[in-house]
């Protein structure tokens, strides 16, 4: 049903979400959910529809955590 290359569907209600707060970075979020800040790219790729730059996230933004 899924493989390593399959990103979670944007409309998958079981994909975890996170609301960005002040001071967050994708690396911090990756640390929180994956234990490894280097995996921030996974979050960035899963949110390309709302993020154009991994260094620019805003408080209140709702991000999918694949």
């Amino acid at each position: 049903m899924a493989d390593d290359k399959t990103p979670p569907a944007a409309n998958n209600p079981y994909t975890q979400t996170y609301v960005v707060v002040s001071g967050d970075t994708l690396s911090k979020i990756a640390q929180k959910y994956y234990g490894d800040p280097a995996l921030y790219t996974k979050i960035f790729q899963a949110n390309r529809d709302v993020l154009s730059d991994p260094n620019k996230i805003s408080p209140g933004q709702k991000l999918r955590i694949p």
């Binding site: 998958n12 929180k32 280097a38």
Partner: protein, 199 residues
């Protein structure tokens, strides 16, 4: 006097024989009617009330035996009870068939949301497992054993989901829903163990 008695006995015997012969046709008709009634409900009874069917068939065999022995009076005496038993069997089979059809319709309705929920859950878990497998350190609350268990759980969930889908394709929604609900429960447990249950 002796001649008179013998004549009376012979007459009585003849009357009894005529009487019995008079009961033969109604007895045969009663048995044929019961057999016909049972034949019309046999398949449904076999499926929904097999034990009760067996009891009725035993009862019917007894009546047949009576007929074969020429006990027409016995056949006619047993016929009402047999008719009642067949009628009761029909009622039971009809009620159970109705219940089964209602349960099947309910299962078909339940299958709809499950058929999208479960694959979505498995996809979300697969994605998280793939990413965590590349992580140098697991996040708080997630253990190596938990991750290993999630990986093996994915395999078993995919196999069970294939079974559930096959059952649904063949129209057996009751089995499909049972299997799908088990997969969904397993998926929920795995999501919890991977910290995917909260935002």
């Amino acid at each position: 006097m002796k001649k008179q008695s013998a004549w009376l006995l012979a007459s009585l015997a003849a009357l009894i024989m005529v009487g019995c012969a008079g009961q033969k046709e109604p007895a045969e008709k009663a048995l044929a009617s019961a057999q016909s009634a049972l034949a019309t409900i046999h398949d449904a009874a076999q499926k929904y009330a097999p034990d009760q069917l067996q009891a009725v068939e035993t009862q019917l065999a007894g009546v047949k035996d009576s007929l074969a022995k020429g006990d027409y009076k016995g056949v006619l005496a047993a016929a009402p009870a047999l008719t009642t038993a067949i009628s009761g069997l029909k009622d039971t089979a009809d009620a159970k068939q109705k219940d089964a059809e209602a349960a099947a319709a309910q299962a078909k309705d339940a299958w709809g949301p499950l058929s999208t929920d479960v694959p979505n859950m498995v996809t979300a878990i697969q994605s998280r497992v793939d990413i965590l497998s590349k992580s140098h350190h697991l996040p708080a609350g997630v253990t190596k054993d938990g991750l290993a268990s999630a990986k093996s759980g994915l395999d078993s969930m995919k196999a069970a989901w294939t079974d559930a889908s096959s059952a649904a394709t063949s129209g057996d929604f009751t089995t499909a829903v049972g299997k799908a609900q088990a997969v969904k429960a397993q998926a929920a447990d795995i999501m919890k163990s991977l910290g995917m249950s909260s935002g």
